[in-house]
């Protein structure tokens, strides 16, 4: 049985900077993951729906516009409402230190700021994927 880890890489809300998202998508691809990239300006419920249809193991949100404290918990709420609470949620981009405890409390498993090591992110993802 050929099991692939599937990752949804998404940008939420009014945030046009997707270079980081593309870099991480590429890194996941090169690590042998299947990456679904949804493009810009997604609403939390759209991303949750895409995560369900694509049956992903991981949702990786790239945020550079400062709305992470609103949009990411909203996304997690939608995932839980639809019974997809086994999906690993990660966040990256520009997220101030002070916001990290709040986001983790909301259910974000890992947060990777600027300068994060790609190998480390991939290893973290592999180790924390919840589904067997």
């Amino acid at each position: 049985m050929d099991r692939k880890i599937r990752v949804l890489v998404a940008k939420l809300g009014l945030d046009a900077h997707d270079r980081g998202a593309k870099v991480i998508a590429r890194a996941y691809r090169d690590a042998g993951f299947e990456v679904i990239y949804t493009g810009l300006y997604q609403r939390p419920e759209q991303v949750a729906e895409a995560a369900i249809q694509e049956d992903v193991d991981v949702v990786a949100i790239s945020s550079l516009a400062g709305a992470h404290n609103t949009l990411i918990p909203e996304l997690i709420r939608h995932l839980r409402e639809q019974g997809a609470d086994d999906v690993l949620v990660l966040a990256g981009g520009v997220i101030p230190e002070d916001d990290i405890p709040f986001l983790k409390e909301q259910g974000v498993a890992g947060i990777f700021g600027p300068g994060s090591d790609l190998d480390e992110i991939i290893e973290f993802t592999r180790q924390n994927v919840r589904r067997v």
């Binding site: 050929d2 099991r3 590429r26 759209q46 249809q53 049956d55």
Partner: protein, 386 residues
Amino acid sequence: MQIYERFIQGDRRALARAITLAENGAPEATALIRDVFGRTGRAHVIGVTGPPGAGKSTLVDRLAVALRARGRTVAIVAVDPSSPFSGGAILGDRIRMQHSLADPGIFMRSLASRGHLGGLSLATADVVLLLDAFGFDVILVETVGAGQSEVEIMGLAHTTLVVLVPGLGDDIQAIKAGILEIGDVFAVNKADREGADRTVTEIEMMLDLGHVGEPGMNRWPQDARVPAAAGYQGLERLDPRGHHADLHALPEGVARGPAAATGLMTAAMRHTAARHGLPAPGAISWRPPVVRTVARDDRGTEELVDRLLEHLAFLRESGRWDARLRLDAEARLRELVSLYATRAVLGRASESGDLERLAGAVAAREVDPYTAAETLLSRHLGEPPG
């Protein structure tokens, strides 16, 4: 709750999970397909293929919205290539499908090709079965960007839509023998660009020459029971030695122009069909229409949907829909029997040590490989695996 119950109740998460299992070749997927197979055979499967960058995803987006507006439920499957190095993939078709994906009624799934060639992934046929069983009226299957030989989609789709763009120029000639042969409907996308008229003309000219008779049957070129389907190649297969005199005159006919060539081909095909006791070509025929579209601006979409639905009506009215179900069933059975038989024989031959022993004998030139294979078959072709 079991995946079967949830699937039957219309739980989209169960459908999504079932697709993953099918992709991974999991036994649970086979079990589920056994259970839901009786519900399949209803969906209209439309394949969308064409070169990279032709606008397939954008066009699929528009088609899905237009089909929904006509009261159909729609699922989309889009295949993108896997990396030959890492085995990973970036599946980006959702980016171009923002209009249709805003509709919660549309289910969309991205598949990676996982090393399979031919334009689809190995699991795509099972994924389509699952979506069919789930109850979608139309399933749009987008292939990877196709070149000349990615024609596998014609075996899966009832209607194959080939998407081209202006400016391919001589490439039209180059791909003539490949994907251009499999189109039931053609779209010339980005038709607001220079050269669109020329592209349309080139396709029409190709159809004039290459699709005499019943081009709609082109999708079954390997089957001798559908003669008119395959044009010249079909004639050769059906009638390898006794080519009709009209066919011998073909090169000359071509020199005299398309009309003369068409006449000669039609005569030759009628002759061959009669020899084999088959319906005369041209009795009910489908000439692939060519539609201009600008998917970005949603232009030409309605006309394209009309043509796709007309092709479905044509398949049903001409009896091809039912013929297709039988041919598909037989093809699938052949495939599975050969898979199971191979597994059974090789499994037992390897367990008993016969395989290794005979391989050694062949290597030492004590026995030839044909005799060795026959020995293995006669000893181990017993009951199928449980």
